[in-house]
Amino acid sequence: MGDVILTMKDIDKSFPGVHALDHVNFEVKRGEVHALMGENGAGKSTLMKVLTGIYTKDSGSITFEGKEVEFHNTREAQDAGIVIVHQELNMLGHLTVAQNIFIGREFKKGIRIDDKKMNEEAAKLFEKLHIDIDPAETMSNLTVGKQQMCEIAKAISHEAKVIIFDEPSAALTEAEIEELFKIIRDLRQQQLGIVYISHRMDEIKVITDRVTVMRDGGYVGTLITDECTKDDIINMMVGRVIYEDPKTESAVPKDAPVVLKVEHLNAGKMVQDVSFELRKGEILGFSGLMGAGRTETARAIFGADPKTSGDIYIDGKKVEINNPQDAVKCGIGYLSEDRKRFGIVVQKSVAENSTMASMENFVKGLFINKSKENKVAQEYVDSLATKTPGVDQLVVNLSGGNQQKVVIAKWLIRNCDILIFDEPTRGIDVGAKNEIYKLMNRLAEEGKSIIMISSEMTEILRMSDRIIVMCEGRKTGEIDISEASQEIIMNMATREI
């Protein structure tokens, strides 16, 4: 490890309502791989966006190669030698590999773009990196792993001094990860500073020299990788926060009937052999890190994505669910994590949204029975305490929490007994969160069964009767709330399979 090339000191950044970065410190040395870790929403990405000029910091300083710098866009950061290899690849599928690498700075002969020279330069670059890719190949024909190699080559071609890898291994196979590590070690050899963002504990131990941990937008600490254990890092990531009223034991009797049973469910790479049971009146928490396959599991159960194999039983009877209509007929309601895209029609009224899934009950002949629709919608506005001036109000004018209540009303009116809540409180402020929690508890008491997918550990521990943990498409743990703790869950969520 050489001298310090990049120092970020006391970086502070607020968005309306959120203190995203709270005086964070971070440094990178030449020839080191520095891991940046933290739970979802801890602020890692925000910090890197501040560094590369996508966000502007409110206060603090960035020193790069001994000089204080401030970048206003990614281009400026690139020119200075700081590049980021994004998790979602920024590639242009219809162009060739070389054309992608040199986009925006093509070699030219007169007005003609010199593709031959670009291919040659790209080939040299690949040779330097010991990568075997044909520069003239069309980008979309490459595997995700090779595409990532191209992104790295592109980064190097900018004469990068610091390269940030944002969860580079998320979409890679084992063999590709090996290749990636080889390249990263090469780069380290060449005295580049490397920031490595990842959730995978095992990778961190293999490839990094130091680890900096962030939590809730704050800086927790920096450790030398060889001198710490996985548990040390997990402890720093979860911290010791006191929660208001976490459940200490399950509210569901041991002999409550099983309403939903899923056996050996498979759907693509993200859902592999998932089995579990859901009991009447239970809130079953699904925990795991981003990309663990929880949403994919829910969508496969709901019939929104095709499943390759697996059986689903409702009240002990085997059912065929091939599309969301089938699922709704079986009494399953799905509350999407992306409310605006999949949950509600924002330009329609509260009443129209409430009855959307059960239209046939509100149709008289050819016409919609408006008065019945309004009456039923009003009942649910009252019982869920939805704050709206009236049922004819457009949903777009409601707050996030109240929008969520309209979605809940929609499925309750449809008589769904199994509700899948995918990130039920995302984008909802603290006060409204409590109300949604209360409502979920009440629904469970009334005999509804709830699957709750959540990335917030506090939410999982506070709401669940039982917790299922997933990691990379597999169920890696199942635990009763009376035995659960953050550490145990985090361990399961980062478990090597």
Binding site: N90, M91, H94, G104, E106
Partner: protein
């Protein structure tokens, strides 16, 4: 050195089959098949005059298709080229016929008018962020109205063959001795080659494809996306202007209020020729071949006793086929 020589042909072959080459080949075969098919079933179709009339009908659509290929590749569309074509022709023609301007000046006005509307389309799409469908639908209506105003609601006849200033008609169909030659085909082919060069070997073309592939990533690469996005529509407008000259030269009278629907033949041709309906992929040569498919159907089907209505239905079905091919290709690519 020897290695490069060995590699070169192999690479060429691969790229021909991995890119749009495959579809171009199929469309070329369809063109040849249609030609032979109609020739077998209709004696009248086999005549040289029929070939000439197919050419006459295809020039303006082909020119529009060359231009509209660019907005289509960015993932947009240009609906204003059909009514625009009539508008530009009327504007230029009015100056020539009623104001005594020389023919070349009228032609220049037609083209510049097209560029101007292209600029407007580009600005609406790129700077004002209007959806291309809406932006160009508006300019489609505007140009229809403007055309009628320019011509004071009367039809305009550019100088007819034999009269003074009619030389421009020879650009597209020249009479040498007793034979007429479809000279326009030569210009169209040259323009196709030139624009294929622009698309594949210049920044304008490269960034047009880039915008259609992934606009966000193109912006992040530090490219002036606004400018290049506008350029795609300017090219489309410019070629609508050229198409208006072809139209003025081929037809005796230009009627205000017509032109709606021309753009669909050009866009349909481009899509049959392999332009992806969702942007990113396409070729100028393919678009030209696609236009020939449409024009052959349009002129050929009446010869075997099918009415114009059937031509539309069959063209529609061919289009569905072309779009299906595009979708299947994408699915296969996603499965990799």
């Amino acid at each position: 050195m020897s290695k490069a020589v060995v590699n070169a042909p192999a690479e060429k072959k691969k790229s021909m089959f991995s890119k749009s080459g495959n579809q171009k080949l199929i469309v070329l075969l369809v063109v040849i098949f249609l030609f032979i098919f109609f020739s077998i079933f209709s004696e009248n179709f086999r005549r040289y005059t029929t070939v000439l009339s197919i050419m006459d009908y295809s020039y303006y659509i082909a020119l529009m298709a060359i231009g509209v290929t660019f907005p289509l590749i960015t993932g947009g569309v240009d609906l204003s080229i059909g009514t625009g074509l009539i508008c530009y022709s009327l504007a230029g023609g009015y100056l020539v016929v009623h104001c005594g301007w020389p023919t070349w000046a009228g032609m220049l006005v037609s083209v510049l008018f097209g560029v101007l509307i292209g600029l407007l389309n580009g600005a609406l799409v790129s700077i004002m962020s209007l959806p291309p469908f809406l932006a160009t639908l508006c300019t489609c209506m505007i140009t229809r109205g403007l055309g009628s105003i320019c011509a004071k609601s009367f039809g305009i006849s550019w100088p007819t063959t034999g009269s003074e200033g009619s030389w421009f008609r020879d650009i597209f169909k020249i009479t040498i001795g007793d034979t007429k030659y479809p000279l326009g085909l030569l210009w169209v082919l040259l323009l196709v080659m030139f624009m294929a060069f622009v698309l594949n070997h210049t920044k304008i073309g490269r960034y047009t494809i880039a915008i259609g592939s992934n606009k966000e990533a193109t912006i992040l690469s530090g490219i002036n996306v606004k400018f290049y996005h506008i350029m795609a529509y300017v090219i489309s407008g410019f070629f609508a202007g050229l198409a208006s000259i072809a139209y003025s030269a081929v037809f005796s009278t230009v009627q205000p209020g017509t032109g709606a629907g021309f753009e669909l033949e050009a866009i349909g041709g481009a899509i049959i020729g392999g332009v992806s309906a969702s942007g990113g992929a396409g070729s100028v040569g393919g678009s030209l071949l696609g236009v020939f498919v449409i024009c052959l159907l349009k002129t050929g089907l009446p010869y075997i006793g099918l009415q114009a209505n059937w031509q539309q239905i069959i063209t529609g079905m061919v289009l569905i086929g072309a779009v299906m091919v595009d979708i299947l290709k994408k699915k296969r690519a996603a499965a990799v």
